[in-house]
Every structure is written in structure tokens, then in C-alpha cells.
Symmetry: C2
Subunit: 194 residues, 2 copies
């Protein structure tokens, strides 16, 4: 972030904070425990994942996924206040387990108007409310990719401590049983540890 | 679009439809009538604008702006039904005037939760309702760029017939007087004809 900050160019600075790449290959801080397709095609099995800020290519990677942190599409002001009081940061020392879950939704989902997507997402699928029940155990960062020409629409990165692994399984199982998930046409579940 | 379709790769096909570049320079179907900064820095004066599908660079261009058509962030189902009944397509023979209006909003806007942005956008600024009063005179295509590392957050392209030029001035003046527009930190207004 230093360079962006020093150059005085707010645009570039903000960009550097928002772009992330996940390189799957033989090197990286995170050791892969499992890669499983939940829906659609899986990703090639790799032993490590390397996360970097920015979209720099990694020629040695077997696959690379890119996403951008962005403004909130569904969270309301009230929900944000409640989330902010319990949401942990990434990088906690004890959070040595992680999950990277890339998801792609179908064209029908993207064609729905905003109020209908919101109703499915929260009023009928309780995406935010369910997630909140697993806070502060699970830290999370959402990366958007629908607008940047990637194979997935979202990459969600989760971090948790080993004793919370069971709770995390419960969380993903609950979300996968929702009406929202009927629109998911590709999902890969990658579990990692450091 | 043919190549994308033939390759059988739905991802690429959808992408080809959604990415657009506006190249400002000495060549292009659209002749520039004026370029004026409404807020913040202007763009270099050019005589023509060339619009292409995709993000191909144009080395001869003085500037290039890129955006992606995407899912609706604020329009509700009811609003969409009303819009669909009066919204004209781009490319009408009589619509020989156009406007390209790139806009950037400030960080405060993007940090607002979804319901607060929606309330400012429509309940308090009547962005959709005002726009609808100028349909079917004005055709419009919105391109998003907040997530793709561009200098602007949106590029809106408008087409109208010369007799509707006065109505179009009224529309942009109304929108610029709204609460929503207090968040706009850069806006350039480019008028064109073909």
C-alpha cells in the first residue's frame, strides 16, 4: 500500500487495497487440505494457495482467481451496525484454518431486480442473519468478480480457529440449503491451513 | 458477438456483450459537439468518439473510458415493469444526438449501506422517476466501472433526436440538483452527433 499512498493518487491507492488474487499452485502461505466441487466443475488440485494484493499474474500457478472488495449490495444500515459489533478482522493468530469458496450464480439471478434479489438473499434465505450467528468465530472477506470477467461471481475468504471448524461446516450447510443457493450453478469449496 | 457465440463458451459470450470502450480521438462515428467539466477535471478535447464492444486498446485515442453493463443496483421489480414499457433501444435512426456522461462519486457514497443509497437515489432524489418522465425520448445505457479500476464509477450513454435536445437539458439539470448529486465529485458532459 505504501507506493499507492506515496504517489498521492487516491484512485490508485484505493485500487491497491481492493484487488486481490488467489494463486493456486506449489507455493503459498496456505496449505490446501481439500478442494471439492459443490456444484459444477471443480478447480485443479493444488497443494498451496498464495494470496496477494493486486492482480499480478503468477506464471507458476495452476489457477488464479481474482476479485475486488466493493460496496455492499444488500446489507442495510441496521444490519451493518449489528455486524460491525461482532465482525472479527482477518489475520487473527488463532485463526489457522481458512476456506476459499468461489461461487457463480445463474443468469436468472442476475436478471432479477434489486428488491427481489434482496428478498431472496435475506428475508427468505437469512444470509446475513445466519452468518451473524457464527460471529465472532468466523472472519470473512467478500470479493466481487461478476463485473471483471472472471469464471466466478464471488470469492469468499473465511478464517477461523480449529475448534470452530464444526461451526463453520454448519454455517456453509445452512447457506447451501437456502432458496438463494438454488441460483448457484458453480461452487468450489477449498479448505486450507497455515 | 458471433465469435463468442460460436465458441460455445457462455462466459466469454456474456462478457463480449457487457464490455464497452469509448475512445476519444480523431476517428469515430460520433462527432463531438462539446466537452465540459461539470465537477472536477475535464477530459482532453477530442473531435470524435468511437464506441466498441470489448476492452481493446486504441493507441491513437487521446483517452479511453471503459465500462461494463451489469445487473441493476437500485431498480425494483415494479419500476422495471414501468421502465420496460417506455424504454427505447439505442440506435434509433432519428436519434442523431448523444451524450456521454462519466461520473465519479465520493468515498462517502460508496461507504453508505444499500438501503441508505437507495433512499437517496430514488425516495429523495427521484432518479428513476425523473428519468422516466423523459422516456421514450431518451435512450440510455449505463456502464459500471467502480470495480474495474477506471477513473470514473459510471459512464452513461444517452441517445435522442435533435427536437428532444431541450428536454434532455432539463433532465440532466434536474438530476444535478438532487441530493444524490452532492456525492458526485467528478462529472464530464460530452455531447455528440452523428
Amino acid at each position: 500500500l505504501g507506493a499507492g499512498n506515496l504517489c498521492g493518487c487516491r484512485g490508485i491507492y484505493q485500487l491497491m487495497e481492493r484487488r486481490f488474487s488467489f494463486h493456486g499452485g506449489a507455493t503459498g502461505e496456505w496449505r490446501v487440505l481439500s478442494i471439492a466441487a459443490v456444484s459444477g466443475d471443480s478447480l485443479a488440485l493444488v497443494s498451496k494457495v498464495r494470496i496477494i494484493e493486486g492482480f499480478d499474474a503468477d506464471a507458476s500457478a495452476d489457477w488464479s482467481l481474482r476479485g475486488v472488495t466493493s460496496y455492499e449490495r444488500y446489507v442495510t444500515g441496521d444490519e451493518r451496525v449489528r455486524l460491525a459489533s461482532v465482525q472479527p478482522q482477518l489475520g487473527r493468530v488463532e485463526a489457522t484454518r481458512a476456506a476459499l469458496i468461489p461461487i457463480k450464480k445463474n443468469a436468472e439471478w442476475w436478471a432479477l431486480p434489486q428488491d427481489v434479489r434482496r428478498a431472496i438473499f435475506e428475508e427468505r434465505s437469512a444470509h446475513i442473519a445466519t452468518g451473524m450467528r457464527y460471529l465472532p468465530a468466523v472472519a470473512r472477506r467478500l470479493h466481487h468478480c461478476y463485473d471483471i470477467g472472471e469464471p466466478f461471481d464471488f470469492l469468499t475468504w473465511f478464517e477461523y480457529a480449529p475448534p470452530d471448524a464444526k461451526a463453520f461446516e454448519e454455517l456453509v450447510a445452512l447457506l447451501r440449503s437456502t432458496e438463494e443457493w438454488r441460483y448457484v450453478i458453480r461452487e468450489v469449496d477449498i479448505r486450507l491451513e497455515r
